[in-house]
């Protein structure tokens, strides 16, 4: 049963990812990424990460993708002539990516993973991955990281306003 769910999620996530890379219209690419993220959240559920799966759907597939949709609509659907300017990258890109895939697989699978037992820990503590457990970890063990994250979000919000905000005079003149 788990296998069926995994392969269903894997095919969906991979299909969404490939669609993001290959679709020409950026608007459709954004929608393909939403599909990818929803399937990936399903895979997170299989790994007992309920809270992360919910956060992924709400924050990523919801909020972040809305920004993408707005920007894609704002700049217009530019149908890019796909691999025009750099034909050498059309060949080398996938080759490099395949090499990277093999390399990561060797690095991850060839590590001492087998010694740990590949099924993972038999019994996780009850409540593993629930909002309660994650929140407790976050506010007790990782409090400084949590505060730093809030500061980072504030800085990013200010940066976005500075970058994309409309200047009154100089913009019109320049």
């Amino acid at each position: 049963m788990v296998e069926v769910a995994f392969f269903f999620g894997a095919i969906g996530a991979l299909g969404g990812a490939i669609a993001v890379v290959t679709l020409r219209n950026p608007f459709y690419a954004v929608l393909a990424l939403v599909v990818h993220l929803v399937f990936l959240a399903g895979i997170f559920l299989l790994l007992l990460a309920q809270f992360i799966a919910a956060a992924q759907i709400v924050v990523y597939a919801g909020a972040v993708m809305v920004i993408y949709v707005f920007v894609a609509a704002y700049v217009g659907g530019i149908e890019e002539p796909m691999f025009d300017s750099a034909p050498q990258l059309r060949i080398f890109g996938p080759i490099l990516a395949a090499a990277l895939f093999i390399e990561i697989s060797i690095a991850v699978l060839g590590s001492s993973l087998i010694g740990l037992g590949s099924e993972g820990v038999e019994k996780v503590e009850s409540g593993f991955g629930t909002p309660e457990a994650v929140g407790k970890l976050m506010l007790e063990d990782f409090l400084i990281a949590f505060e730093a994250a809030s500061l980072l979000l504030l800085v990013a919000a200010v940066a976005a306003i500075v970058l994309a905000g409309r200047k009154k005079q100089s913009e019109e003149a320049g």
Binding site: V20, V30, I52, V75, S85
Partner: protein, 99 residues
């Protein structure tokens, strides 16, 4: 279900995102492919978290979500600024760090 399957899937998704960053030219799509790479990294973190039965990896994934949100906001702000200044939305054209 062995954890290796999840790790291989994560590597595969990362490579697909990497291909997109290399071959696409629209900055919005390049940012989307960066998101693919980040979510592949998140999948690997959650797999290891499950492997060890330890919640630290999940907290780290939340941090990745925060960083991804910041990256999106700044990146899309740059795209909007480029569009306003009528700079071509093509990463190959962006060779100089001049306004």
């Amino acid at each position: 279900m062995a954890i290796e399957w999840y790790l291989v899937l994560s590597a595969l998704l990362f490579s697909v995102g990497f291909t997109g960053v290399l071959i696409r030219r629209n900055p919005v799509v390049v940012l989307l492919c960066l998101e693919l790479m980040l979510s592949a990294g998140a999948l690997a973190l959650i797999s290891f978290s499950r492997l060890h039965g330890d919640g630290d990896g999940q907290v780290f994934v939340l941090m990745v979500l925060v960083v991804a949100a910041c990256e999106v906001v700044v990146g899309l702000g740059l795209v909007v600024a480029m569009f306003r200044r009528r700079i071509a939305l093509d990463v190959d054209e962006m060779k100089e760090l001049r306004g």
